[in-house]
Amino acid sequence: MPAERAPAERGIGESAALRWLIVLLAVAIAAIMLLLPLLVVFANGLSHGLGFAAAALAAPDARAAIELTLLVAAITVPLNTIFGLCAAWSVAHFRFPCRRLLVTLIELPFAVSPVVAGLIYVLIFGLQGWFGPFLAAHDIQIIFALPGIVLATLFVTLPFVARGVIAQMEAQGVEEEEAALTLGADGWQLFRRVTLPKIRWSLLYGVLLCNARAMGEFGAVSVVSGHIRGLTNTMPLQIEILYNDYNLPAAFAVAALLAAMALATIVLRMALEWRHRRAVARGADAVWLRAA
């Protein structure tokens, strides 16, 4: 046994049987709770054949839901990326009042139920809400329309980019940035040449997770969407509608696509990490950002 593995082993006792039991337990739980449902979704989605699944996805309402989901992700992910970078930059580089409060506040969406988040937006922008009369008078629709769905998704996915980037920026300190400053770098050069390469992994991870959640969010979106078929239903809502209509094969077809989109995100991340590790092993720097 390599010497560096000894402490971890000692930590959980000397018994090899116990060690294997714990490993087995973790693997079994992961397989039953995570992998099995995923396989069931794909198996069911394709149980009526590829042709049926394709037809279910091509149905007008399903297509509209897919397009809306992609549109919402395309709006919210860049916005939350920008927000996450701004928040991390200010927290890591400046000392200001309520700095710790800001960090805690960013994690609020993790603690608050998405349904509550959706309700909050209804209370603010809904017809009976604070801005309701004003919005109605100016013919602006937020609730039961795209803006509401985007707002609710923004709220729910807000911590994903910010959290990891804040942690990494704080851990790495500001010395390299200060060095770049003394060497004459302007703000953009500082960010592009020093900060971004330092945080690229937590940033990438955050963006991918944010994207997966933006596409998959149900609760908050459900409250503000109004469930107008072919118009304000995202994929998760469409799946629920199909399910409630007893159209299980179609529900599973859309669900399989949604799951596949999320999986693609994870696979992309693994591929980039693998490429990075290979590049490091070659003694070169990660190539994908340098080329940008």
Binding site: E178, A179, A180, L181, T182, L183, G184, R193, G283
Partner: protein, 217 residues
């Protein structure tokens, strides 16, 4: 030449710099000595523009730089822990200050390569340009930090505990090469140290700081 007039800086009620008046002669090699917490690193950072004084003025070669951003003060700064860019090769670390120059003042590819190679030779790191900082020894990193600071042809060189993180044998060697380089380049140099023998061996001027005040001998 660096001239400091009436520099003060406080954190809360605590005065970190308490009325500093100092002239560092042009071309001199000056040591800033003092116990830890005496404000010497803060003073160095204020001169570099990384921290701001509450009152007082900073003049470099006759130009008031009190409110000039760090990158336009003509200062080369060597950080205590070197602060090398971990994701960039040694070559790119040294080239950084030249690459970020405003368009039009940037050297051509050939000029850049020649300059960096000259600097690598100057700090005796020839052939190590492709390495990453993590692949270097402490002494080598320190020399990269020095070369990177010198690449922008600064008027002033500031070093924060330049040998603090190094073992004895390496210190001796680096000390000599820094002294030789400084004499060759004739660059006005101010370095922070808490090691009195080291300061005496290296510097031609010594300034002592205690509790944010200069101690006049």
């Amino acid at each position: 030449m660096i001239e400091l007039v009436g520099l003060t800086k406080g954190f809360g009620a605590q005065a970190v710099l308490d009325g500093i008046d100092l002239a560092v002669p042009r071309g001199s090699f000056t040591a800033l000595l003092g116990p830890s917490g005496s404000g010497k690193t803060t003073l160095l950072r204020v001169i570099a523009g990384l921290d701001h004084a509450d009152t007082g003025t900073i003049t470099i070669d006759g130009i008031d730089v009190t409110t000039t951003p760090p990158g336009r003060r003509g200062i080369g700064f060597v950080f205590q822990n070197y602060a090398l860019f971990g994701h960039l090769s040694v070559f790119e670390n040294i080239a950084f200050g030249l690459r970020v120059r405003p368009r039009g003042q940037r050297p051509t590819r050939d000029e850049l390569r020649r300059t960096v190679e000259r600097l690598l030779a100057m700090v005796r790191l020839d052939g190590l340009g492709a390495r990453l900082p993590a692949q270097l020894s402490g002494g080598q990193r320190q020399r990269v930090a020095l070369a990177r600071a010198l690449a922008i042809t600064p008027r002033i060189l500031l070093l924060d505990e330049p040998f603090g993180a190094l073992d004895h044998a390496v210190r001796e060697d680096l000390r000599n090469s820094l002294k030789r380089l400084q004499a060759e380049l004739g660059i006005t140099t101010l370095f922070v140290s808490h090691d009195e023998p080291e300061a005496l061996a290296l510097a031609d001027h010594i300034v002592r700081l205690d509790h944010g005040k200069l101690i006049v001998p």
